[in-house]
Symmetry: C2
Subunit: 279 residues, 2 copies
Amino acid sequence: MKLQTLSTNKSHGGVQGVYSHASAETGTEMAFSVFVPDHAPGAKLPVLWYLSGLTCTHANVTEKGEYRAACAEHGIIFVAPDTSPRGDDVPDDDGYDFGKGAGFYVDATKEPWAKNFRMRSYLESELPELVAASFPVDMARQGITGHSMGGHGALTISLRNPGRFRSTSAFSPIVSPLNCSWGEKALGGYIGTDRDDWRQYDACALIADGARLPDLLVDQGTADNFLGEQLKTHLLEQAVADAGISATIRMQDGYDHSYYFISTFLVEHVGWHAQRLKA
Amino acid sequence: MKLQTLSTNKSHGGVQGVYSHASAETGTEMAFSVFVPDHAPGAKLPVLWYLSGLTCTHANVTEKGEYRAACAEHGIIFVAPDTSPRGDDVPDDDGYDFGKGAGFYVDATKEPWAKNFRMRSYLESELPELVAASFPVDMARQGITGHSMGGHGALTISLRNPGRFRSTSAFSPIVSPLNCSWGEKALGGYIGTDRDDWRQYDACALIADGARLPDLLVDQGTADNFLGEQLKTHLLEQAVADAGISATIRMQDGYDHSYYFISTFLVEHVGWHAQRLKA
């Protein structure tokens, strides 16, 4: 697995890099960003994964996330992958909510998507191996977070891989693709019409089926245009209550779905993950 | 003067807005951004002006600057204007360093630029009046900063208007347009070939000619590609030393010209301005 460096910039005492590699899972060149804080020679640092939302690449959070000061303070490596395979040979859809920029963190089984849209395996296996081999990360201390579709990704990857992540949080997550039109379109298209197959990609269904987390932090803006029709935070509140999962789910008054919201609370999330990753 | 609201987003407890208005100075519609922290009803807050560099609009620092947490903490309004007039009727140049996106904070006297390229008067008179009339600002407590061409703008506007700004800082400023190719092209094009006319737009020349500041904070990255040929920080060091101006000019090891550098130190600049604006 060969890593290509696209850019590095010194920032907040560390190095913000953008890298790419030829992915065996997606069959494409995949870019991602990594912030490595200043650290002692030979030290291995905890890592926080950030999964992005619809239409995004690694660049959105890298430019707008305001996470580097907090990661430098706590000594945490921050990794931001892309949201789908890219390239002229990759199939796409006219909508912003399916195809490129909308991988939904699944392994597609339906054509023409199955060949390239393997973001689940990419993020559960291939990219962690590459990151572990290429950066000074302590893979025993991983946390995961994400926004919107990426919040869905963080929740479902963590729920399916018990013990891998010491900490899980989300911003404005899609909590139940079974119960919103974004999910219906994406999972119907990538996975097919058997809704039982969707449950592995639905945080609420995974919890109902027995998956557990040690605890959970979620922030959701009350002025988010997608709250009522797509995100439906109350379904997650009900799922964690029914399962007895310790969760802090905060409705943030007046905040919307943008990075102006995320950047307001991402520093606090980094600190929350740091408590658990460095305990 | 009528203000149009292009967008508002709640962020860090305050409101990040983008606005536009028909400018009498430039003869165009001008956009700018304003962050207003949460504040007591009726309160008037200090204001920090941020002038941007070549190719930028208000959007670059608004998205990448990471200033809102610090402005919210200190209760400071942050205003980011555009760098030139815009629109199909505005003359332009093929270069990134002249014409649109490169107003250099001058009042042009040469054709075809003189009609629209009046960024000096726009920023010294028109926009402050609009901001004072439209936002809860205490115009007796103003600070100014900027990056690169905007650092040049901050320094020269402050030096030409003694007493207006309680605090002046800059990131990677062009300190002497008389002594770099960016300056030669811009001032030659906008102002003409009489270099005596350029001195009002050259921080080092203004200081040599007697202009003074109470003190000054400048950060400059040592890995900045433009340092040797364009920025020439040492000329400002010499000018303030010769004039006996109290200045902190810091060469920041390994930092480049990007917002990864600016965002690292902008929080500290906001705090430095806050000390002076709230004294």
